[in-house]
């Protein structure tokens, strides 16, 4: 897999093309600039997240709770996309198995909480732990299987798990699986929103550091060149497995939160569509890019919801369009266009902007 430079990796080619100029400069300056930019961006982002509910209340009035609830969904998908990106974009495992953790975790939470009457927090904890454990189970064979083989095998896993969850529903005589007795604050759309995004921000922050640490470098090394990674002492087994476990646990958390958000669990959470959506998120956003996970989650997770808002039937002149039946196609077309115009993901937009900024910054410096 070849990798276009992402936001985290770019450096100004113009500057570096003239080594003499570059070498006179303090090493680390670019990094500092970049870090400052990242910091500024993150703080702006967090502030925006904090004030969003207020803005919504002003703007949407009585429907603001529902609109926020909808936005919370993006947070859940960001987690799932982040998990997929760590596994696929960084550690280069083309696994399509994540929806299995997504579904299983939701079922475990619902089972513990609704059927066994356990507290919600225990449910979440167990769900995430079980997902991590499943991550080991899936990851271990995946160490022997690679490439498209792994993709198809894990896709098979997802549908098999979906079938089994459905079988469980069937034998238990369930038509749907309600997640009842949530803690009160999770029944409130505002607090649910803050809860989910607090988790998202935390995990993005921690992931950022992890990916820039020894572990993250080991993953990227495996992605770039397994042989060299091994020759430099990186234990492929260990690091691939770690990526699987972290990704599974994170997807599990996303699954549990999704069940909380939807107040129900369904075997369709572990379906080919769902798992491919996770992959689509990081492809659209940008493989191996944190910003990419966020942008991809918004595009893939939220765009269909927005399209669902289109009035149906829609009148264009005298021509009556049944939008509702065309939504899938419109979505597919938009997806296709993004992939054609941003083959390395929407995050490359950010990188382009960043490059431009950096060029201008460094230009100033040379004059000064």
């Amino acid at each position: 897999m070849t990798q276009k430079p992402t936001m985290d990796q770019v450096s100004g080619p113009d500057v570096a093309a003239q080594p003499e100029v570059e070498s006179r400069r303090k090493p680390g300056l670019i990094l500092q600039l970049k870090n400052q930019r990242n910091w500024l961006g993150s703080i702006c982002g967090i502030l925006a997240l904090i004030v969003l509910p207020q803005v919504y209340d002003q703007f949407f009035g009585s429907s603001s709770a529902f609109q926020l609830h909808r936005i919370s969904l993006i947070g859940i998908f960001i987690l799932a996309a982040l998990a997929q990106n760590i596994l696929t974009g960084y550690a280069a495992q083309p696994s399509l198995g994540n929806a299995a953790f997504f579904g299983v975790s939701a079922y475990i939470l619902t089972w513990l909480s609704s059927d066994l009457g356990q507290p919600y927090w225990i449910g979440i904890l167990v769900a995430v732990l079980v997902s991590a454990l499943l991550g080991v189970l899936v990851g271990s064979p995946a160490l022997r299987i690679s490439g498209a083989h792994l993709a198809v095998a894990t896709l098979g896993l997802v549908t098999t798990v979906g079938t089994l969850l459905n079988y469980w529903d069937t034998t238990a005589g369930r038509q749907n699986y309600d997640l009842s007795n949530l803690p009160d604050f999770l029944n409130d759309d505002h607090t649910l929103y803050y809860f989910i995004f607090a988790i998202v921000v935390c995990l993005l922050f921690l992931s950022y550091h992890l990916l820039h640490s020894r572990v993250g470098r080991a993953w990227i090394a495996i992605r770039d060149n397994e042989t060299a990674a091994e020759a430099f002492g990186i234990n492929l087994t260990k690091y691939k497995l770690q990526a699987f476990v972290i990704s599974a646990a994170m997807t599990g958390l996303a699954g549990a939160l999704y069940a909380t958000w939807a107040t129900t669990a369904s075997s369709s959470m572990s379906s080919a569509d769902q798992t491919i959506a996770f992959l689509a998120m990081i492809v659209v956003g940008g493989l191996g890019s944190l910003t990419g996970s966020v942008l991809g989650a918004i595009f893939v997770g939220f765009l269909p919801v927005l399209l669902g808002q289109l009035p149906s039937p829609m009148l264009i002149g005298t021509f009556q369009l049944q939008i509702s039946t065309l939504i899938t196609g419109i979505y597919g077309l938009l997806l296709l266009l993004v992939l054609i115009f941003f083959p390395s993901g929407l995050s490359s937009l950010g990188a382009r902007a960043g490059n431009w900024l950096q060029r201008n910054c460094s230009g100033e410096e040379q004059h000064g």
């Binding site: 609830h69 038509q175 749907n176 149906s312």
Partner: protein, 384 residues
């Protein structure tokens, strides 16, 4: 606060009631027009639209036009709640009319019940709405029959009218299929016959050879097909290509009661029985046929949408000019006693009973057309 709990509070009651203005009533529907149930839901939506257009053209209901807002949940029950919330919190709908899929309808009902929003016609053959009756789900009214009742009637019909002794069952491997398996078995046993073999299938299954051979080995007189049009048709095709035909042929349950299915089967489907509960013989059926004469083929799902839209419109009508959720509930609970649905069976709702119709008739494929071959049989009569 603006729940319309008190209809007499102001001079212009409509202003207080969500989704009801002086000239429109907004109602919401959750129909999967984008996911796996698209095949069923898209024609239902078209049928709904057809009827409401007709009503609106004639001046609406009590002077108000009906505006149907439909949201798709992709057939995925985890998205149903969001869809329903959109209808009531963003689009400000008055009542919920149709949610497709039993599980999805359950999710929707937990929202509408808590908010005391009337929910008419959950599209699903699950038994929950019948079993729970009006007491547990005071805000849900079911129009269609359930698979359990149907199983009883089919068992009765096969034994008493067709004199079958052994019956095979192919069922879709979900809660509904299992429910029919149980009730069909009970009913056969009571009538001195038996369910000699039953084979479940997955919705995505393509190869039915093993199922055919398993059935064949059990020598049933007739095979009951429970599920959806595609897979059941594949089963018949597979059996035919292996030279197998049960002595008395097949009987399919109501989702197959559509001429399109008969056409799909081709010659292999001749003489197959189908259980059904909607007939186009009555005036509304004729009216529908006229309205859709341009369609290439008759769609039972579209007809389903049409007649249910009629039931719902009648209810709105009966709820009166001062429309509130309570007045609608009142009308639904009290003004539907032996109500003539216009497609055959009659419908009775009381405050304690919100179940749908439970009368079935049987059709037979003759020259690729479904032809009615029995009268309506009431489930309550064969299985008290």
């Amino acid at each position: 606060a603006c729940n319309g709990g008190n209809p007499n509070s102001g001079p212009s009651p409509a202003a207080n009631v969500p989704g009801v203005s002086n000239d429109t009533i907004t109602i919401g529907a959750v129909l999967d027009t984008t996911g796996p149930l698209k095949v069923i839901c898209a024609p239902i939506l078209a049928g709904d639209q057809l009827y409401f257009d007709k009503i609106n053209a004639a001046g609406g209901i009590n002077g108000r036009k009906v505006k149907l807002v439909q949201v798709s949940d992709d057939g995925n029950s985890t998205k149903t709640k969001g869809a329903v919330r959109q209808l009531f919190e963003q689009n400000n709908a008055f009542a919920l009319f149709q949610v497709c899929g039993s599980g999805n309808a359950n999710v929707a009902s937990s929202y509408t019940n808590a908010k005391q929003i009337p929910f008419v016609d959950p599209i699903g053959g699950g038994s929950k709405f019948n079993d729970a009756q009006g007491k547990a789900l005071p805000w849900v009214w079911m129009t269609q029959p359930n698979y359990g009742d149907e199983g009883h009637v089919i068992g009765y019909y096969l034994t008493n009218k067709q004199h079958a002794k052994t019956v095979g069952l192919l069922y879709e491997n979900d809660v509904l299929g299992l429910q029919q398996k149980t009730t069909l078995g009970e009913s056969l046993q009571k009538n001195g016959a038996q369910l000699s073999t039953s084979v479940g299938y997955n919705a995505t299954q393509t190869d039915f050879t093993a199922a055919v051979q398993t059935m064949k080995a059990a020598h049933p007189d007739i095979i009951v097909l429970n599920g959806l049009p595609g897979p059941t048709a594949k089963f018949i095709a597979a059996a035919t290509s292996q030279g197998y035909h049960p002595p008395m042929g097949y009987l399919a349950n109501y989702p197959m009661a559509d001429n399109s299915w008969a056409k799909v089967l081709g010659p292999a489907g001749e003489d197959t029985y189908v259980s059904g509960y909607t007939s186009t013989a009555a005036p509304i059926g004729q009216e529908y046929l006229k309205a859709t004469s341009a369609d290439t083929s008759f769609s039972a799902y579209k007809f389903y949408g049409y007649i249910n839209a009629k039931i719902f419109s009648d209810a709105l009508m009966k709820a009166g000019k001062d429309l509130t959720r309570d007045s609608l509930r009142n009308a639904l609970d009290h003004d539907f006693s032996n109500y003539d649905t216009g497609f055959g069976p009659s419908l009775t709702w009381t405050p304690d009973k919100h179940g749908g119709v439970s009368d079935f008739m049987f059709l037979q494929i003759k020259k690729a057309q479904l032809t009615q071959v029995s009268d309506f049989i009431k489930a309550a009569q064969v299985w008290p």
